[in-house]
Symmetry: C2
């Protein structure tokens, strides 16, 4: 019995480790995607697009593994909740990867032109920094289960919302004399960063709920 | 033992019934949201916004119930896969409700003005019809597990993609002399319909995978 518990514990640790690995990957993705779109860097954009397949594959394997663990170990109470939470977090992380992928694809679509016009570069750069920072804290929440850090991720999302409002105002105030295609790109890119941040908050909340048993 | 199986079967049927109920609700939501935004109808918009809370509450209850069934019945193989799939489908349905909610909020934000300018009303109306049609088929896939219908949902998504492309072209070709605010709204509303359809495809695929054991 003690041996079985140990195997199970190892399996839970393995799931947690893969979630941390996925976090690292989506943190890197949003950083690289931000750089790619700010500098119209095709090579970096391709890197993000390629790595998204890798993220999806790892997520897919993780989900299959979690279901297999539930079937074989038949966990109850806390352990079952932790495994179901892991399934949900892996879905959030996969979507964060998708958002970085969408940003990178916009950069690739407009290359060699800039997808981000000069008046918006500072805001997009700032959104990239906030997104990465939130995802880094989210990664620490996954590994440490810190409820304080979880709360910080949620607070940081206010910064993202504020940047998003500023971006919309900037799009409205800009002159789009050669057409609104750029306004469409910018609207969608803004949405991708905002959604990326929403998923980081979602992950932090899920861990918080697992630890405290209640939603804030 | 026979009795326990029967209780369990009832519970699985109950989960399936709630998924069908949620489907009905998100089908109604997108229909009403489309009407609200096309006619700048504040009353209908408020209706959708209000019903989203109800959808979220039902989804929340369903998820808790599924986890409780897994913990108590300790299902393996097919039954466990069906319950995990139900968890994922409930998340898709909840997001479909959110998309309808976003459309309705855009209508409310611009009321008493029209959020959708005349040159785009026909496309948005068409997107609403395709979205609702896809969701209706998705609902039937949930209740019948038909793999043929599941394939149809996927094919219908090509129509949505085509409409989305036409919408972007329309936005680019329109004159935005009094500002691009309307272009931003239209870009986001188009994205909401497209995402709504994506989630319908996702649900159809999940059921297909459950039935056939393989992804198309």
């Amino acid at each position: 019995m003690a041996l079985i518990r140990t195997v199970f514990q190892d399996e839970l640790d393995g799931v947690s480790q893969t979630l941390q690995d996925l976090s690292e990957m989506v943190i890197a993705s949003i950083g690289t995607a931000t750089e790619a779109i700010l500098n119209a860097d095709l090579k970096l954009a391709e890197e993000v697009i390629k790595s998204d397949d890798h993220i999806d594959a790892i997520q897919h394997e993780l989900d299959a593994r979690i279901i297999e663990i539930i079937a074989r170990q038949q966990p109850v109470a806390t352990d079952l909740r932790a495994l179901v939470t892991a399934l949900r977090i892996s879905a959030d992380l996969e979507r964060m990867g998708d958002m970085a992928h969408h940003v990178a694809k916009t950069a690739r679509l407009r290359h060699p032109n800039q997808a981000i016009p000069a008046p918006a570069t500072e805001i997009i750069s700032h959104m990239g920094t906030v997104a990465k920072n939130m995802a880094q804290k989210m990664g620490q929440v996954i590994s440490t289960r810190s409820t304080d850090l979880s709360l910080e991720v949620e607070k940081d999302d206010d910064q993202m919302d504020e940047l998003h409002r500023r971006l919309i105002t900037t799009i409205i105030e800009m002159k789009w004399e050669s057409g609104v295609e750029g306004a469409i790109d910018l609207t969608l890119v803004g949405r991708y960063f905002e959604r990326y941040a929403d998923h980081a908050v979602s992950v932090a909340r899920r861990i918080n709920f697992l630890v405290t048993g209640s939603y804030r």
